[in-house]
Symmetry: C2
Subunit: 200 residues, 2 copies
């Protein structure tokens, strides 16, 4: 069966987003990443920055979560934390996007949300630490923290979020149809493999 929906989960700095964008371009189908965040934000009434920050990060019930929540939402949320409320909306948005037609969706635990769709191909992109460290400094610049510490922190937050909402282990090969090391294989090769698989 043709794989119409491609989800890409990725380690921070691995180039997974670039790979997703290029795959979508080559297949001539929509690419959802920032666009997805915006759509979720609009539907929920949360500020885009809040969605960006909490969409793949550890679930929290902090006071700050509520501070960024849309007006009136605490009432609507029926006692759910802001993060849980956001997760429900995220699921609905991703299910709707997949129903609309072929697309590439990066991140947001879409692999899990769309795990029962036979027309979905679930990919995971990872890379070694040195490659990712060099890449995040080149793309996002230096910061006070070492690139290794930034990677570690982001990895941890994605891992905790994924585990919390899916009950699965982040980065376990069994969750995905294909996992690729971008540092070993190269971005272009990863793109080619995914485009070929999607076109089969």
């Amino acid at each position: 069966m043709e794989k119409k929906i491609i989800t890409i989960s990725r380690e921070f700095g691995s180039g997974g987003r670039s790979i997703g964008r290029e795959v979508a371009q080559k297949l001539g189908i929509p690419f959802y990443d920032k666009e997805l965040v915006d759509q979720i934000a609009m539907e929920s009434g949360f500020a885009p920055q809040f969605v960006e920050e909490h969409g793949e990060h550890s679930p929290g019930k902090s006071f700050l979560s509520y501070a960024f929540a849309p007006q009136g939402v605490p009432g609507v949320m029926n006692g759910m934390s802001a993060a849980d409320f956001l997760w429900n909306i995220q699921c609905n948005v991703i299910l709707q996007l997949a129903d609309k037609g072929p697309c590439v969706i990066v991140g947001r635990n879409a692999d899990y949300i769309l795990k029962d769709r036979p027309d979905a191909l679930h990919a995971y992109i990872h890379a070694d630490i040195a490659y990712r460290a060099e890449r995040i400094v080149r793309l996002y610049g230096e910061s006070e923290k070492s690139p290794e510490a930034r990677l570690q922190e982001k990895d941890k937050r994605r891992r905790v979020n994924y585990q919390h909402y899916t009950g699965r282990t982040w980065g376990a090969a069994q969750n995905y149809d294909i996992c690729l090391s971008s540092s070993k294989l190269g971005i272009e090769t990863c793109v080619d493999i995914l485009v070929n698989l999607a076109s089969k």
Copy 2:
């Protein structure tokens, strides 16, 4: 760089061995699996059945391990368990095989043993439970235990052995350059992807 050495780690029943054999055939390079076991057995003096049983299974110091050990070996082993002694020989055999030239090596933690070779491509093959259960019954026949219980037991033993000797998590995508679901992608597609990668 051309990838001359291909290691294939696999879940029991996933078809990883068949994939490895076909990749080796298509590339016209040696395939090591039973052959490797025999060679290890010859070098160590262990009975082939013992090597087959302990090469990828949980490390044990049972009385039975010693019962199957070659005559005179307990003295040579310098206090190592039979499993640890076997592991050392396994490492040497695999390093030597890789030095000999291009080849496909299935199992035996070869991904870890050859992790520092830049000309090695490390693949992991997995599949969903239903696919594997159907496959092991078809290939190896029925047994008293349910196929699911057989899979669970074998998975556990490989996981414990891998963790013990490599310090890594079995099936974590980060350990491999590429992980493929044979149940989702099909055996032939997995073969094609690996042959293409090795020929690049």
